[in-house]
Symmetry: C2
Subunit: 313 residues, 2 copies
């Protein structure tokens, strides 16, 4: 069965039903969900709205034949919610704009919606509305809505020279999974982001979506500073080096440029909480990988590079 066999309104109803049955449409903040001209969401007193939009496009970010539809949905939701995590926001809801060709199999949309809905429920980010349109290729655009205490949002621009640079969890795992066609292990660090937003002594924060080097670059530019990174300190998943060797992949390349790990990269003032304190507060592996410098640019110490000296990556 293809989308054109169903028609627009039947397909919308089908998507709604799937999301509802998955328990992915309701939430404390939802005043009015799917079905009207707009959804209505309620923030608590003293909160600001955080909003971010993100798209996954067929042929660019995914291929139907390479990945289960549910995995595509999950990845889309992870990418969207990770932006809220990076601001320290709690999710209120998500709206989904789907473009799809009339010849697309309904089963693929079903799987996609199951992936979206499963992640929505798991992260308490209900699907509250959407839009459906024809398109030559499938594209999923998610807009994530969150709430953050006024004045407490984490920003890219808040790093200062002397800050330590830390990262949650491990990097490179998503790129490795992609290379060997396994489902991505990534999840949005929503809880960690909210805890960081509540601590004092935290500087800037960004999520690692494009890869450590690129995202640290964004943070540095936004803050008008530079950084020195010790590549040997970058945390990787267990068994990463040997898995990379087996797959003939360069582990440093995956950790620096892999992307889609959705860990949080953040800075801490020199007198801010220690690595051990952060690990305890976040309930999560946290690793110090370098420091912020007044001198602009990103310099990295890479033992693998041979000399062991500081160089531009």
């Amino acid at each position: 069965v293809e989308l054109r066999d169903l028609g627009e309104f039947a397909l919308i109803e089908r998507i709604e039903r799937l999301a509802r049955r998955a328990g992915a449409t309701r939430g404390r903040a939802v005043v009015l969900g799917i079905g009207d001209d707009a959804a209505l969401l309620r923030l608590a007193a003293g909160e600001d709205l955080a909003v971010s939009t993100d798209a996954l496009v067929e042929g660019v970010h995914f291929r139907w034949r390479d990945e289960a539809p549910a995995s595509i949905g999950r990845r889309a939701m992870t990418a969207a919610l990770s932006d809220l995590a990076a601001m320290g926001a709690r999710p209120l809801g998500v709206v989904v704009a789907l473009a799809a060709p009339p010849r697309l199999a309904v089963a693929r949309v079903d799987g996609l919606v199951r992936g979206l809905a499963g992640a929505a429920r798991r992260h308490r980010a209900p699907l509250v509305g959407g839009n459906l349109t024809r398109g030559e290729r499938t594209a999923i655009t998610l807009t994530a809505l969150g709430a953050v205490r006024r004045g407490r949002a984490l920003r890219r621009s808040a790093a200062r020279a002397g800050d330590r640079i830390l990262v949650t969890g491990a990097l490179g795992g998503a790129a490795l999974a992609r290379a060997v066609r396994r489902p991505s292990p990534a999840r949005p660090r929503l809880e960690a982001g909210r805890i960081l937003a509540g601590l004092s002594g935290i500087g800037a924060c960004i999520d690692v979506s494009d890869g450590l080097a690129a995202d640290l670059g964004h943070l540095l530019r936004a803050s008008g500073v530079g950084a020195e990174i010790d590549a040997g300190c970058i945390p990787t998943p267990r068994g990463f080096a040997s898995a990379c060797a087996r797959a003939r992949l360069d582990p440093l390349r995956l950790t620096l440029a892999g992307g889609e790990d959705y860990e949080l990269l953040f800075t801490v003032r020199s007198r801010g909480p220690s690595e051990a304190t952060l690990r305890r507060r976040l309930g999560l592996a946290v690793r110090e990988i370098g420091c912020i410098t007044a001198r602009r640019g990103l310099r990295g110490l890479s033992r693998q590079a041979g000399g062991g000296g500081w160089a531009h990556f």
Copy 2:
């Protein structure tokens, strides 16, 4: 010059600069605009967030060779903001997800952004964030964020038997303009929506985006009621009948099924404000076109159809 000559980050910067210069990035509600993982917007106390997403896809909703790029941008913004108008919400901001092919002319994106930015400024709906990705065809997905007083949002589902049905402005003009390749005269009825949300005696409301028959159908289904419409009462723009005759277009078809007029279609309780009062309060043409019935379905009286009797459209 094509997009691939610029590269992703240069293009993002270019779009930001264009929007900023057009005065389309700042607003009272904007705590943090373009440039971080998420934008931050501030609602007033006692307000709920209204959120709606809408997409314009090349080959489906527009063709580059048929329309000025700025007009496409304007239409996208009008569609997005009209959903806020239909809820009675005031705009807080808009996020833009753009998918575009690498071979697209930069001048087209410039024009598109000018159209978006002009409408954003005019309607005080600042552009606060976005996403840029490759795609085979251009697609513009806008998510509009608004605020509405708690409990005062207009809904599709609030119509009751006995309500009068009214419409703002005139219908059919956008379809006529499209047919003769003129720019659409449509604008989102934001002010009218906000005034309606503040009045008592108002029932349901929806914006006319797909055409009167389709959108009234949505409202009736959501409310579990039916309606009788006098097609002879449907307001049309000045000179509409003769322009349709010249272009050999069926005027009734344009008014009922044309779409993209973005007028507000709403119901008023039998003891609610009169047509004259509404006209004065909204500062706008308002026309009563029929009434809500307990009997489901949409019945229309069409003089042009000949018999003058009630029939299903």
